[in-house]
């Protein structure tokens, strides 16, 4: 990028060509007033406040839409400019009902700031009158309030909705005098195409759009801002929790421009999903179940009891009769402490967590192919990809902020988007090509794409030769896998497969983005290996904007894996079966460790049935709703001899517990999360915990200590220091270093800058390894009795088992309950109308849930979100496992559906 030199207010400045004067000035610390500029949207130029004088140019020029030029001399303030600004502000104030006294935005209002700066008089051109009150598009919204009396019609919200979120919900409506922000036909916001990202509220420079739940909960100037990492999904958005110190409550949530990875953008969960923190349903005291009923207990009673019971069970049945579930919701520090507790204090490797249920196949597959199992590239690199191949990821719903990057790449930078998904997900409207493969046929599809790439000589032979091994075996496996053959299996037309292969292979840099549509199969590892094959075949590895990018589900599922909450590896993916490594950890932890791999999540539940597991210690997980084949899982939870659950709510799982230990949520704890792009980021406490709730690591340390294995840390920073000392990929991590923008692993030492993309020049395992992958059909194909294929998945508005999201009024309004998606033709045949209650049945169970009749799903397929305790989809799912990764096949089982009998 060429640099140009100019002067602004006499200051010599260099800026990249194409930078606007306003941006160049801002970077140089000169704040040119503006009410309608935001770097994320195209210049609107509606407020005209940013006018400047450019030497040699007649009149004034707006600086938000004028780019810098060599030798330019700019004056941002003089008597004339100031006078115009004052006049414009006074004009705006004559339309804006000044109500700072009762406005939440008091203290964070740009108009207020500039009015003060220019001493603008709000009444000089007449005071704005209150308009007659009439309902508007947000009147009935639980999320947003829109006050047309305060709206200055700058256009930022409309432009954000159109250009950044691309939801196209908001528009300007009406002519001069009646002009307002609105929706099409003035329909209620929550029934429009709005996705409740809250971007409009965030970008509003005044108080015209407000977070409804926050109204009256504190003016911005009174609120304390705590920067932290979002506790919802794996994107790891940087948020600011705005807390009211007098109430110890989060009033509202915001973010800030320029932050990584979300640049101030949020999704509904981050913006409107934090009511759970201050919920009165939070656990505040330890509970011990006596005679089938929970009774409140003191901490010392509770931890004494847990330590005593666990010690007894070890004494009687040995350490391998205990298993622990760590948590992808908890911090790196919590996870490290938990697995250390299980391994060192208990003495078993029976530790796992819900990554087993989402990306175990990623970890297994990518480790085999490349040597490390994580997203190879970084989120922001997507923006510059030539081709993005999204397979089995409903990105805009499950990872909404990454969805923004993908949409931006397509719309602004012309990236070619290929979507492979059985459903017509939202990304399809941005895609060049949509392949609606039959669920469970991904290997067939990818093999055929590779068949085309090889037969049409679109492969990167140099890369294959220099950087990989076992190409021939793979080539042999796909030799006969023609697009025609794949078309029969997948139902995707052969020509589409060819086109997809060509687009993917020919683009400058192609990035594969996938998620649980790939992993949650009995062939999950195979699916992942196939994608790895595809990327290596075309040389899309070890370079920018390319790679194989699994989007991790929970906020810290990456970290929980990294920190060894897995039965086969210590922190940093160091094998428990490697004697040298075991010795290292024995040295570090001062305890003899088990040389054998432990068992996995679903295996734990099954082992209870065989009496092999006597006690389960579950930290922040909810298997009673999240595991497959719930009847079986719940039976295990019920029958296990001793169950400890550590959580923030009395979850479905906690109800089965013998002891419940109240812990704190992300907004109350310190530590770090590692997001999906391997970025370790700070978590900072914003509010005090409710009641006696304590940090997970503190509770675990206390139990361990009482069991005779003393564990204690002064603070979480010290835990991270210990992590760094035993975990090579985290070797350079410390709170100090991750403070501002985090640090991406591998980061082996204190001077290492972190790693933006993996496998540059060399794969972690040396050479990339191709695998010959044969197509294997799903475990339970449909048949006469169960003729439908049932898939489960996620919704934008909900998270995991809904324990947190369902506490939000805004979310409950748009996503009150679950449903089953069915194709209109199937529905018609079965006499099911949209909204009818249906019974969905599989060999494992039956649930009642309303039907959502939609053409977005294929004939013969059903789709159910899994978040809802009423009508829980996992009553139906199958617990057939991938043989390597032990991940259950949530995405395919055989089901039947009928209209539910009318209830009185």
């Amino acid at each position: 990028m060429k640099e140009v030199s100019l002067t602004i207010d006499g200051k010599n400045i260099t800026a990249a060509e194409g930078t606007t004067i306003l941006e160049a000035a801002k970077a140089a610390g000169i704040d040119i007033p503006h009410l309608c500029y935001d770097p994320r949207v195209k210049p609107a130029g509606t407020c005209r406040l940013c006018v400047v004088q450019i030497e040699g140019r007649a009149g004034l020029t707006i600086s938000c839409n004028t780019t810098v030029a060599e030798g330019m001399r700019v004056l941002t303030e003089n008597e004339e400019i100031s006078a115009f600004r004052k006049t414009i502000l006074e004009l705006i104030l004559s339309e804006h009902r000044v109500a700072c006294t009762s406005c939440d935005k008091d203290g964070a209002c740009a108009l207020q700031d500039y009015a003060y700066r220019y001493q603008a008089d709000e009444g000089r051109f007449g005071l704005a009158k209150r308009k007659p009150t009439k309902p508007n598009y947000a009147t009935n919204s639980e999320a947003i309030l829109y006050d047309p009396d305060k709206c200055i019609l700058c256009g930022l919200c409309v432009n954000y909705c159109e250009e950044v979120q691309m939801a196209e919900a908001l528009t300007f409506a009406g002519r001069l005098g009646q002009m307002e922000v609105g929706t099409a036909f003035g329909i209620d916001l929550h029934t429009s195409s709005c996705v409740l990202c809250g971007g409009c509220v965030e970008i509003c420079p005044v108080g015209a759009m407000l977070d409804r739940a926050a109204i009256g909960k504190g003016r911005h100037k009174d609120l304390i801002r705590t920067r932290t990492t979002c506790g919802y999904c794996g994107v790891g958005c940087q948020l600011e929790l705005l807390t009211n110190p007098t109430t110890n409550r989060i009033a509202t949530v915001t973010s800030y421009l320029g932050c990584i990875p979300n640049n101030g953008n949020m999704c509904v969960k981050g913006k409107f999903g934090m009511q759970f923190v201050g919920s009165d349903k939070r656990l505040t005291t330890p509970l011990i179940k006596r005679n089938g009923k929970f009774e409140e207990a003191t901490w010392s009673e509770a931890t004494d009891y847990v330590a005593k019971k666990l010690s007894e069970i070890i004494a009687e049945h040995g350490p391998n009769s205990i298993a622990g579930l760590s948590s992808a919701k908890c911090t790196n520090e919590d996870n490290y402490v938990f697995q250390k507790f299980i391994r060192a204090a208990i003495g078993t490797n029976n530790v796992d967590h819900c990554a087993r249920l989402c990306h175990a196949s990623t970890v297994a597959g990518l480790a085999r192919a490349f040597g490390s199992g994580a997203m190879t590239n970084s989120i922001d690199e997507l923006t510059n990809a030539g081709c993005i191949f999204v397979i089995g990821s409903n990105t805009t719903e499950a990872h909404p902020v990454i969805g923004l990057n993908i949409k931006d790449a397509v719309v602004e930078n012309g990236a070619e988007l290929i979507v492979a998904d059985p459903r017509a997900i939202d990304l399809v409207r941005f895609s060049k090509l949509h392949m609606a493969q039959k669920p469970g046929t991904d290997v067939a599809l990818i093999n055929a794409m590779m068949n085309v790439i090889i037969s049409e000589k679109l492969l990167d032979s140099d890369f294959v030769k220099e950087r990989t091994e076992d190409f021939d075996a793979m080539a042999e496996a796909v030799k006969d896998f023609t697009p025609e053959k794949a078309a029969e299996i997948t139902t995707v037309p052969a020509e589409k497969i060819r086109q997809a292969a060509r687009i993917y292979a020919k683009a400058s840099a192609s990035s594969i983005v996938y998620s649980m549509g790939i992993t949650q199969h009995t062939t999950g590892t195979d699916n992942v290996l196939s994608l790895a094959n595809l990327a290596m075949l075309t040389g899309n590895m070890g370079k920018k904007s390319a790679g194989v990018n699994p989007l991790r589900g929970q906020n810290n599922v990456q970290g929980a894996c990294d920190l060894g909450a897995l039965p086969n590896v210590y922190p940093g993916y160091q094998s428990v079966e490697d004697a040298e490594i075991k010795a290292k950890f024995e040295g570090a932890w001062g305890k003899e460790l088990s040389p054998n791999k432990g068992i996995t999540v679903v295996e734990m539940m099954h082992a209870v049935e065989n009496d092999e597991i006597k006690a389960l210690y579950i930290m922040g997980e909810n298997p009673a709703l999240s595991d497959p084949n719930l009847n079986r899982t719940r039976k295990s939870l019920e029958t296990v001899e001793f169950l400890v659950v550590q959580d923030i709510f009395l979850s479905e799982t906690a109800e089965y517990a013998d002891v419940v230990l109240p812990s704190v949520c992300f907004a109350e704890k310190t530590g770090s999360f590692t997001n999906t792009e391997r970025r370790v980021q700070r978590v900072r406490s914003a509010v005090a915990p409710p009641g006696q709730a304590r940090s997970d690591w503190e509770i675990v340390c206390e139990v361990a200590t009482k069991m005779g294995y003393p564990m204690s840390y002064d603070c979480t920073g010290k835990i991270l220091d210990e992590i760094a000392s035993v975990t090579p990929i985290y070797g350079g991590m410390s709170f100090e270093r991750i403070d501002s923008v985090g640090l991406q692993w591998p980061c082996p030492d204190k001077s290492h800058p972190g790693t933006k993309y993996l496998h540059k020049g060399r794969f972690t395992r040396g050479k990339g390894k191709f695998h010959a992958v044969e197509f294997i059909p799903p475990a339970e194909p449909p048949d006469k009795k169960f003729p439908f294929v049932l898939s489960t998945g996620r919704l934008l508005y909900q998270f995991h088992t809904g324990t947190m999201t369902r506490k939000s009024s805004a979310i409950n309004q748009v996503s009150p309950t679950g449903y089953v998606e069915i194709h209109p033709d199937d529905a018609k045949k079965l006499g099911i109308a949209d909204g009818d209650n249906t019974e969905v049945m599989t060999r494992r169970g039956k649930v009642t849930t309303p039907a959502k009749v939609t053409g977005n799903i294929g004939r013969g397929w059903l789709f159910m979100p899994f978040h809802f305790r009423e009508g829980p989809a996992n009553m139906l799912t199958i617990d057939a496992l991938d043989p390597l990764a032990k991940i259950p096949e949530y995405k395919v089982c055989a089901a039947t559906i009928k209209k539910a009998p009318a209830t009185s």
Binding site: V158, E162, T171, F172, A173, G174, R175, F185, S193
Partner: protein
Amino acid sequence: MEKFGTARYQKMLNDIGELGVENLFGFLGKVQDTFGYVPREVIEDTARRTGLSPSRIYGALTSYRDFNLKLEGDG
């Protein structure tokens, strides 16, 4: 002015050939002139056909004095 009817609307669509962003404004003008307003179903239908969002078309039409979104006297 005619009463809005789907058959008449369909005929207008046929007359224009392929509806796209290039001729949408003129087409909506004809709908206005024929029926005296642009019904909601027309905005939704033309949005589908052109790939524009209903909110965009709706917002646009409300900026013109000579476009009505409701039949005169129809509240």
